[in-house]
């Protein structure tokens, strides 16, 4: 089986689902499950579409890195769909298009093709967020997203004008051969960085995220904060390690943006009074941290960090959005003690929160510890210090949140969670603990990623 099916089948199914409106949610469910299953049968290869080799044709790259990305993004996509497809029947066609777009984002090895998939998945995302019933927030998202991808396009066209190719690996080669100084490339790289930064919610470019995620429902919350954010970060990793070469100034600019992002994100999360607010600002900080790791060339653990984030944010955002859907509020003061009546959900939420703040026994701890070891080995003492200090802040606000949600002196609110939902979040939480205790497959996976991804760029 060829990996191109992962893009073609959802697109075809999107057209078919228009014809069979009644069955559309089942088509969506089957196709999204099938794309997870298909991943077991696709060989690792570079696919030249139409038989045209690299600089002339578009190619899709399926290596260990994109395979991990596809596995995690597609499984999470399937879970979000499985929990929501009946309620959001009208969105089936759009969700199929967004699946095609996300798979394309993770697979493509061509810069312009990446722009197209960025827009395809972006337009699907704007339409998905209309279910929040906040058209103004969606409009802001649309404007920010379009400007972002336009800047990305601007950067890539400058690169095309300089090197005459759009293929990522080929362009990296051309850059190496031509001997153009890193300073001359800083401008197009910065444009591309900003363009992708809008989608990844990096700090100065994320004004849209507040409007969307603070009023997110059970579909948009996990979809935008977990699935989309994860896919964009995987793309970021690919571009930052394969293509970028860093001049000193570029590293300085990026480090300042990202470190300010980490600190500001954690501080805003600390002062936030809504559950979704805490989660939103914490994911802004995490996204900055992951991109920073990619810039420093700690690719493997950055990838693992994305996985930690996708899984934890899925659990927590689903619970927070469901709470808001039922009670009409997710102010921490109003929902105090909500886990007293829902112990399973409470345990899952607690595990996810402790996992993301990197406490021992959890998957997040293994990742954070190894990441810091790698950082020290590379003399990244300043960033290590920032990570340690922000981890303390993170630990404090997550602990405070968990304690408030478990204990109250007032009457605890009653929220009904469906059985299937409880089942899914529990399994995910158990997995987080299992891989926290049994770390050898994680470390093996990390080595595989580090071996695979092409080290043309990145500080070595």
């Amino acid at each position: 089986m060829s990996a191109i099916l992962l893009i073609v089948v959802p697109l075809l199914a999107a057209f078919v689902s228009i014809l069979f409106k009644k069955a559309s949610s089942y088509i969506l469910l089957i196709v999204s499950f099938a794309s997870v299953v298909t991943l077991n049968y696709v060989p690792l290869e570079v696919i030249n579409i139409g038989g045209f080799t690299a600089p002339y044709g578009i190619n899709l790259v399926l290596d260990n890195y994109s395979l991990i990305g596809l596995y995690i993004v597609d499984s999470m996509f399937f879970l979000v769909i499985a929990l929501n497809c009946i309620k959001f029947k009208k969105l089936s066609t759009i969700l199929l298009v967004s699946l095609a777009g996300l798979n394309g984002l993770l697979l493509t090895g061509d810069l312009f093709n990446l722009f197209v998939f960025l827009e395809v998945s972006g337009i699907a995302a704007y339409l998905i967020t209309t279910t929040n019933k906040k058209p103004l927030a969606t409009f802001n998202y649309l404007v920010a997203g379009t400007v972002g991808s336009s800047l990305y396009l601007f950067g890539l066209i400058i690169l095309y004008g300089m090197f005459g190719t759009l293929n990522m690996a080929d362009m990296a080669n051309e850059i190496a051969i031509s001997g153009v100084s890193a300073n001359a490339l800083a401008f197009p790289f910065l444009l591309m960085f900003i363009g992708l930064g809008v989608e990844a919610k990096l700090l100065p470019f994320n004004s849209w995220a507040k409007g969307i995620l603070l009023s997110a429902n059970k579909l948009t919350g996990p979809m935008i904060a977990s699935v989309y954010a994860g896919a964009t970060l995987f793309v970021f990793g690919r571009i930052l390690t394969t293509l970028f070469i860093y001049s000193d100034q570029l590293v300085l600019v990026l480090s300042v943006i990202l470190i300010v992002g980490i600190i500001a994100g954690e501080t805003m999360a600390f002062s936030s009074k809504k559950i979704r607010g805490v989660l939103l600002y914490s994911s802004i900080a995490q996204a900055s941290l992951i991109v920073m790791l990619f810039v420093l060339g700690i690719t493997g653990w950055a990838t693992m960090m994305i996985i930690v984030n996708i899984v934890s944010k899925f659990i927590m955002f689903s619970i927070a959005s469901h709470t808001n859907d039922v009670l009409g509020t997710d102010e921490i003061e109003d929902v105090q003690g909500m886990f007293l009546n829902n112990k399973t959900i409470g345990v899952a939420f607690t595990v996810a929160a402790l996992n993301i703040s990197g406490l021992p026994l959890f998957f997040g701890f293994i990742v954070k510890m190894n990441m810091l070891t790698d950082l020290f080995a590379k003399d990244g003492y300043f960033l290590a210090a920032v990570i340690l200090i922000t981890s303390v802040i993170e630990g404090i606000y997550y602990m405070r949140l968990i304690l408030k949600l478990w204990f109250t002196d007032k009457i605890a609110p009653k929220i009904k969670f469906e059985f299937s939902f409880q089942y899914v979040v529990t399994i995910l939480a158990v997995l987080l603990i299992v891989f926290g205790l049994y770390a050898s497959p994680v470390i093996a996976l990390n080595d595989e990623v580090e071996d695979t991804i092409v080290y043309e760029g990145g500080i070595q």
């Binding site: 337009i123 339409l127 409009f139 404007v143 336009s150 396009l153 066209i157 095309y160």
Partner: protein
């Protein structure tokens, strides 16, 4: 020369996006930005005295000077995507007008 004009248009679009508080004007600014970008892309493939990149019975040799066809193909895609986002933006503008009765963001009483 064309590049400078394109960059001026891009900057004009960005200026509009940053200063305008009217939904329709924001969409127009977005379009100006996209048109500037498309012009820039086409200008990258421009070759002085180049022929249109089509093989005909008269122009049938690889030694002739053609302009670069790839940026034109890219622009075609970018235009289609731009039209898609504009249409979606206008649909949202309609929804916003139904909800708030105005296109001015400042009069909507929301962040």
């Amino acid at each position: 020369m064309l590049q400078y004009a394109a960059i001026v248009l891009i900057m004009l679009g960005l200026y509009g996006l940053l200063t305008q508080r009217n939904i329709i004007k924001i969409i127009i600014s977005l379009n100006i930005l996209e048109i500037g970008l498309n012009l820039f892309i086409v200008s990258v493939g421009f070759v002085t005295d180049g022929l249109a990149p089509i093989f005909t019975s008269i122009n049938n040799s690889n030694h002739l000077l053609f302009v670069d066809p790839l940026p034109q193909a890219l622009v075609l895609t970018a235009i289609v995507i731009g039209v898609g986002t504009t249409a979606l933006g206008l649909a949202l503008a309609k929804k916003i007008y139904q909800k708030y009765g105005t296109f001015e963001i400042d009069e909507m009483g929301e962040e």
